[in-house]
Amino acid sequence: MRALMFSDWCVVKKYLAHYLLTSLVIGGFTAMGNAGDPAAMTIAMTCCVCYTSSLFIMFALFGADDRGEWARGRLELLPIRRTDVVRARYGIMALAITAAMAAGFVASIGLALAVSLVNGSDVMQLGLLFAPEPALAFLATVASLFAILSIQMPLVFSLGVERGKIAAVAPLLLIVLLGFEQVRRPVLNVAGNLASAVAALPASVVALGILGAAIAAYLISMLVSTRLYAHREL
């Protein structure tokens, strides 16, 4: 499995600078909408960089599998099973999300400091990042990414990246569905009930609960991917 993660790393590192730069530019533009508030800037940019980088990396890795003959070749050249391929990929994506979050955070702090120096806003506001709300935002980002990948990865493992392009938009389709009253109303009802139920709980417990649920979904998704990938004709 270490060999698989290493091969994935080789693919990622080739495009890392490109992906990070693109993510930082997108994140930077997103952050500029909150230029007067360094803490809000940092949160917006960190979450944006984390999202874009993670999704870039996922599609780069699955693309490398299907380009050439690597999806089949690795099973013939290395002493691995298909289960190992799935586990390694879920492992490296979890690491990618964490690393992207850290990279986004560091870069956004830098940007926030630079903007504060230029427009004279209060740098001390960055201290607000250590309040519970920003931590909740970061955790919610990580949790939502785990949830999105939990839907996307089984689709791509099953269909390959070419046929599984729909996986890229599958989670977005769910959001589009919320535009329909018939869907939105029950979802909001459930969300409202959930919010009322957990209102009495401390924010940290709620955040960890959300993260735990997302990680559980990610692990279940890994099992589903293992099943689907076992039957895929390579």
């Binding site: 091969s7 080789c10 013939e76 290395l78 390579l234």
Partner: protein, 286 residues
């Protein structure tokens, strides 16, 4: 119970695809033996190799692997972003017994530069094949499964590769399953030949049997009728394999010496793998 005289054995394996089937194929690679797999494009060679290596599961039949397998495929499968040292490191992580010195020695012997910056994408087809071969040898594999390794290589590189394989086989406990369209390469290296067509095994025999015993007689129509009326089956399976050419007929002869004794006036040439394959695949059964 597995037959221990084989490094690799496919027993009665079948695999169904839309429009193509591999049906009840049995193929063994004995220890210390080089087995050449020949057949037309789409005959089922790669499917058999993939089943042997485990990347494709047969619908029925079984596969016995008594050796440590290494693979070399026609197309270098590593991610194009990896460099040559990356490939070496990945194998080192996957195989605890990976012999780095042997890898470097093999690369050197095959003139494959260990350039730190050169990516798989930048390697030529020949270099990609050499890289796979060097890695497979260094993993400590005792049976190599090579799918068209010499396809697209110039004659000098092909010679280098065949020499290396011959040297690799020298200890005597190693074996090799190799497919190729270049039957001249197979004649130089193989101990046994298996001919496959349309997913069915047509012939499996020692290469000596082809070179020393089998022949192709090129006959006029009257001569062919005389041979066919002679009552002896020259294909060894109760029938005769004949193929009409522009001016004559070719008939596959399983015993060249016996044919010469029986028809001293007719010419029967030594058969090549190409002759045998052509007559088995395209010839009529009489």
């Amino acid at each position: 119970m597995a037959d221990t005289s084989f490094s690799l054995r496919l027993i009665d394996v079948s695999k169904h695809f839309d429009g193509f089937d591999v049906s009840h194929v049995t193929l063994g690679v004995p220890h210390g033996c080089v087995v050449g797999l020949v057949g037309r494009n789409g005959a089922g060679k790669t499917t058999l190799m993939r089943m042997a290596l485990g990347s494709l599961a047969p619908d029925s039949g079984r596969i016995e692997r008594a050796a440590k397998l290494g693979a070399v495929s026609a197309v270098c499968p590593y991610p194009t972003e990896m460099t040559v040292p990356d490939v070496e490191r990945m194998h080192r992580l996957a195989f605890p017994a990976f012999d780095r010195a042997l890898f470097e020695k093999t690369c050197d012997a095959l003139d494959l530069p260990l350039d730190r910056k050169r990516t798989v994408k930048e390697l030529s087809r020949g270099m990609g094949m050499k890289l796979q071969l060097a890695a497979a040898v260094a993993t400590g594999a005792t049976c190599l499964v090579m799918d068209e390794p010499t396809a697209g290589l110039d004659p000098i590189v092909r010679d280098d590769v065949l020499d290396l394989l011959r040297r690799w086989m020298e200890p005597g406990d190693r074996s090799l399953l190799i497919s190729s369209h270049i039957t001249g390469d197979l004649e130089r290296i193989c101990d046994r030949i298996a001919i496959i067509d349309s997913g069915r095994m047509l012939l499996t025999c020692d290469i000596d049997e082809i070179e020393s015993h089998m022949g192709v007689a090129r006959l006029r129509t009257a001569e062919l009728e005389e041979v066919l009326d002679g009552g002896r089956s020259w294909s060894g399976d109760g029938s005769a394999r004949v193929l009409r050419g522009d001016l004559s007929w070719a008939i596959l002869v399983d015993d060249r010496a016996a044919f010469a004794r029986e028809y001293p006036d007719l010419v029967c040439d030594r058969a090549t793998i190409d002759d045998v394959m052509t007559l088995l695949v395209k010839g009529e059964v009489r």
